[in-house]
């Protein structure tokens, strides 16, 4: 019922082309996150789904119903799409109490009074803000206000819940708390959720699926793990992950068994991979996650020798920066480790954890 399909959505603000041929399928029950840097069109996409924006081209299908058909200038109003929306600014009505805010939609839909009371109290209970029922928004803290907006959105039991950077106005501690709350809520309500954020940790922890946006285009849609492990291009690889992924320039050379990757990290043979015949050599970028690097302080076979440049302890983990043939590489080690500056160490990595990208196009070529 609540499967959402976007087909060829194009949206212009004046002459600015903000959404470029956006295609997306959100399965029923999914928690899909639209992730990308600010200004990439993710909020606009969400508003198109909600019906708050009218695209110039494309279709939106919710369940079995076409709710937006730009070619026919047909747009179902937001309230008839069976969804609800949580705004980044909260958009709580300041002149109404919590009860009035949450019950507003039910009153508009002319539910009986008793039922409204029951539903509102249930929603507030779920979000643990029952006691604030008669307060005005200005009398609540930011976190409580956030809970009210979510209560307001779920009280009508929408089939589809749209959230626009709901946690961006909260402090770090509250954000972690609300993440857990949202995840539990998703599992309890079994609603399809589309969620917008620029915070990758939020996306990785919450979503069943992530759609990555760059400059008005969807670049990759996949599960959180796949996006993390196999980013389709350099931009995604660069965007996802903290500390940032290591990029190392290398060369792709033809080899008998497939192709050989030559880089400061050494020579690696990728079996069963074929190089285009026309190309003898190709410039590539290797990407290696910091946590996929292992360190040893004594010589080992097949390990790569390098020098410690600096050590950055961060409590539960330690970041170590190395110099490998004038290139910097960062490694992440769980726990607290000690190295001297300029100390000689040996590092090791599983070659399967390296992704190889075309240096010119930035596209993922293969996984070694």
């Amino acid at each position: 019922m609540s499967k959402v399909i976007l087909k060829g959505i194009n949206k212009y603000y004046g002459k600015v082309h903000v959404l470029k041929d956006v295609d997306l399928v959100v399965e029923e029950g999914d928690f899909l996150t639209l992730l990308g840097p600010s200004g990439c069109g993710k909020t606009t996409t969400l508003r198109v789904v909600a019906g708050l924006e009218t695209p110039e081209k494309g279709q939106v299908i919710i369940g079995d119903e076409i709710v937006t058909n730009a070619d026919k200038s047909f747009y179902t109003p937001p309230s008839q799409r069976g969804l609800n929306f949580v705004f980044q600014s909260y958009a709580l009505w300041p002149h109404m109490t919590v009860y009035e805010n949450v019950s507003f939609g039910l009153k508009v839909k002319k539910f009986p009074k008793k039922e409204i009371r029951f539903k509102v109290e249930d929603a507030l209970e779920r979000l643990q803000i029952r006691e604030y029922i008669d307060r005005y928004p200005s009398e609540l803290s930011g976190g409580q206000q956030q809970r009210v907006t979510i209560a307001r959105a779920i009280v009508s039991q929408p089939k589809l819940l749209l959230l626009d950077e709901p946690l961006s106005n909260l402090d770090a501690k509250l954000r972690v708390e609300m993440r857990a709350e949202l995840k539990r809520l998703h599992q309890e309500l079994k609603t399809t959720i589309i969620y917008v954020t620029h915070d990758q940790v939020e996306a990785l922890t919450l979503s069943t699926k992530i759609a990555i946006f760059f400059e008005g285009k969807i670049v990759q849609v996949d599960t959180a793990n796949n996006i993390y492990n196999y980013p389709v291009d350099v931009r995604v690889a660069d965007f996802i992950g903290n500390p940032k992924i290591n990029f190392i320039d290398g060369l792709l050379v033809k080899d008998r068994d497939g192709v050989k990757v030559v880089s400061p990290l050494g020579e690696m043979i990728a079996e069963n991979k074929k190089c285009e015949d026309s190309l003898e050599k190709k410039e590539v970028t290797l990407a290696l996650r910091p946590e996929h690097i292992f360190i040893s302080d004594e010589f080992k076979e097949n390990y790569l020798e390098c020098q410690v440049y600096s050590v950055l302890p961060a409590g539960s983990e330690t970041l170590i920066q190395f110099k490998v043939q004038d290139k910097f590489i960062i490694a992440k080690v769980i726990g607290q480790v000690k190295f001297e500056l300029d100390q000689k160490v040996w590092i090791f990595f599983v070659k399967e954890s390296i992704n190889v990208y075309d240096k010119v196009t930035g596209q993922l070529l293969f996984n070694v």
Binding site: P77, F85, A91, W93, F104, V108, S156
Partner: protein
């Protein structure tokens, strides 16, 4: 054959697609309350503002029956450049156009320059320095604006009148036994002085909103770098408010250029004409077409100045409000100048606000004009019964049913017009604020600003001719109260809409979108979200229009009938017939009502009239 068919059906499919698209677009337009409201607003505004202007313009090219004989071989009602030639290029041009034009331009130039200096200085003192008694001063500075502009010319006359032009001598002559020369009693000097004493409030309001929007941090930063106060003022504050100064100058100019009351009282006696008084003279002599051309010239001057304002400083104006939060303002310490600043400001307020009021009040108690002794004091003009020996038996104003009726008319008009204007301003302000960046919003904003450019006297002239006969769906309105309300609402629309827009801009659109998602209709959204949140701003818009309507003369003078006469119109006719005491007494009543309402709104509702003026 097959190919042809598929081609045909494809064509038909495309056509069908186009039709449904058109149909859907149309349905969306007519079912979307915002577009419906916008369309209605635009139609009404065009009908009430653009059509009158057009009629006025076209009338000046049509030969009227009474002028048929002046143009050989012409037929009444035909196109003719006759009137334009007569005004711009004939033996009387100098007398009826160029002379008055020079006077008008000179007066408004001087008035706006002096107003900028006075108003700007006072705004700076009140907003940026540590001058004491700030609340008192900021209230008193605005008081002159509560009185009709021409009341100050009446006060001037009472003081500086000479006995050369007839009548009684003024206070000055009585006290010092010097007969003031004509140049002091009448003409350009007193016009400029009294007009400045009125319009400086306008610049003061504009300037103080600009000054208070400068973030104190900028000044503090300059102080940290070691700049002294003068440098801060000239290098930081002044450049930041320069755009505001220029636009205040131009707005004051375009307001002063059309003013009628002041030059009428102070200029006509010595045959000193401005465009506005010449316009009124032409209407009186039934030279309507000529009057219209003068009106159009006034509109052109005002539009031109505003156009310059938008072109030259429109883009730069934006930085006047940079850091517009103005949360914390550091006050410049006046130090040793503090006391002299208080004294000078007090003297000024005494001259601008207290003396005119006092003079008016005093004169209303004088049995005979010009005799300044205790036994000449009487309350006759206030409470006296009809006495054939005084003023041909006119009873005191509170014993005169005519005046009670006028008080009733005035209050009814001021309240009805300001409530109607506030409602209209709210709706139009909604359209403007929600249509930001859209053409619809721009059109409504521009249309509703036009009345600002039309001098009241010209505006009432158009409405007089437009509604003195039945029009499309509208019966003859001349002589009705409705016409007075209509003309007032339309004339004050620029203020009402500005105030409404700034009010609406404070309500985030997301608040409405949230209700939209919940399924609330436009009406529901407007009544349960927008209106309750906009409530606070209503009073400011209401007050602004109320004050203007209470003291309005120029706009109503041509349109009132004995039945609908307002207090101001009554004052004017009393002055015309020489019963100054009655005029002064009524003026005192008007001032009392305005100041009371203003004071109550300040106390009760935190009203801020700067919103509609500045913005």
């Amino acid at each position: 054959m097959e190919k042809l068919e598929t081609g045909l059906s494809k064509g038909r499919r495309e056509l069908d697609g186009k039709m449904t698209r058109l149909k859907n677009r149309f349905m969306r337009l007519v079912t979307d309350p915002y577009s419906v409201a916008t369309v209605i607003a635009i139609v009404v505004l065009v009908y009430l503002i653009v059509v009158p202007l057009w009629e006025m313009l076209s009338a000046t090219f049509k030969l009227s029956p009474q002028d048929v004989r002046s143009v050989p071989g012409a037929i009444a009602g035909e196109f003719t450049p006759y009137y334009w030639k007569k005004i711009f290029n004939s033996s009387i041009s100098e007398a009826i156009f160029y002379g008055p034009l020079k006077n008008s331009l000179f007066i408004s130039l001087m008035v706006s320059m002096l107003s900028i200096i006075l108003g700007g200085l006072m705004a700076w003192l009140v907003t940026r320095t540590d001058i004491p008694y700030k609340k008192f001063f900021s209230f008193m500075i605005i008081v002159p604006y509560m009185l009709p502009s021409w009341s100050k010319s009446l006060a001037w006359l009472t003081i500086f009148k000479n006995d050369r032009i007839g009548g009684y001598p003024g206070v000055f002559q009585y006290l010092f036994n010097i007969n003031p020369p004509n140049e002091i009693s009448y003409g350009v000097v007193p016009i400029i002085i009294t007009a400045t004493l009125h319009y400086y409030v306008f610049t003061y309001l504009l300037m103080s909103s600009a000054l208070s929007s400068i973030n104190g941090d900028m000044e503090e930063m300059a102080e940290i770098t070691g700049a002294n106060r003068y440098t801060i003022l000239s290098k930081i504050v002044f450049p930041l408010v320069l755009p505001a100064i220029l636009s205040a100058f131009i707005l004051t100019f375009s307001k002063a250029v059309g003013t009628f009351g002041i030059p009428a009282f102070l200029g006509l006696k010595v045959k000193y004409y401005t465009i506005s008084t010449m316009l009124r003279a032409n209407i009186r002599n039934r030279l309507t077409e000529q009057a219209y051309i003068l009106g159009i010239s006034l509109i052109s001057i005002a539009s031109f100045t505003v156009y310059i304002n938008q072109k030259a400083i429109g883009a730069r104006k934006s930085y006047a409000t940079i850091g517009g939060k103005g949360v914390r303002k550091n006050k410049i310490r006046l130090g040793k100048y503090r006391i002299s600043a208080v004294i000078i400001l007090s003297i000024f307020i005494f001259i601008a606000a207290v003396i005119p009021l006092f003079i008016l009040l005093m004169q209303s108690f004088m049995l005979k004009d010009g005799i300044y002794s205790l036994n000449n004091i009487t309350t006759h003009y206030w409470f006296g019964k009809s006495n054939n020996l005084i003023a041909e038996g006119e009873p005191g104003i509170f014993k005169n049913p005519l005046i009670w009726k006028s008080i009733y008319n005035t209050l009814k008009l001021a309240f009805t017009a300001s409530i109607a204007a506030t409602i209209t301003g709210t709706i139009l302000g909604y359209i403007v604020s929600r249509g930001r960046g859209k053409i619809s919003g721009k059109i409504v904003e521009q249309l509703s600003f036009i009345p600002f450019l039309i001098p009241s006297i010209a505006f009432s002239a158009i409405y007089l001719s437009m509604f003195s006969k039945p029009r499309l769906f509208i019966p003859t309105l001349y002589g009705t109260f409705t016409l007075l309300v209509l003309v007032s609402v339309v004339k004050y629309l620029p203020f009402a809409v500005r105030s409404g827009t700034s009010n609406m801009l404070q309500i985030g659109y997301e608040l409405e979108e949230a209700a939209m998602v919940e399924g609330a209709s436009w009406v529901k959204r407007f009544t349960s979200i927008v209106l309750p949140l906009a409530k606070k701003g209503f009073l400011s818009g209401f007050l602004l229009v109320f004050i203007s309507a209470m003291k309005e003369l120029d706009l109503l003078m041509l349109l009132v009938t004995p039945d609908t006469r307002t207090l101001t119109a009554l004052t004017f006719s009393y002055t015309d017939t020489g019963y100054h005491q009655f005029a002064d007494a009524i003026m005192t009543v008007i001032a009392a009502i305005i100041i009371t309402v203003y004071f109550i709104s300040l106390k009760v509702g935190d009203a801020d009239i700067t919103k509609g003026i500045g913005g």
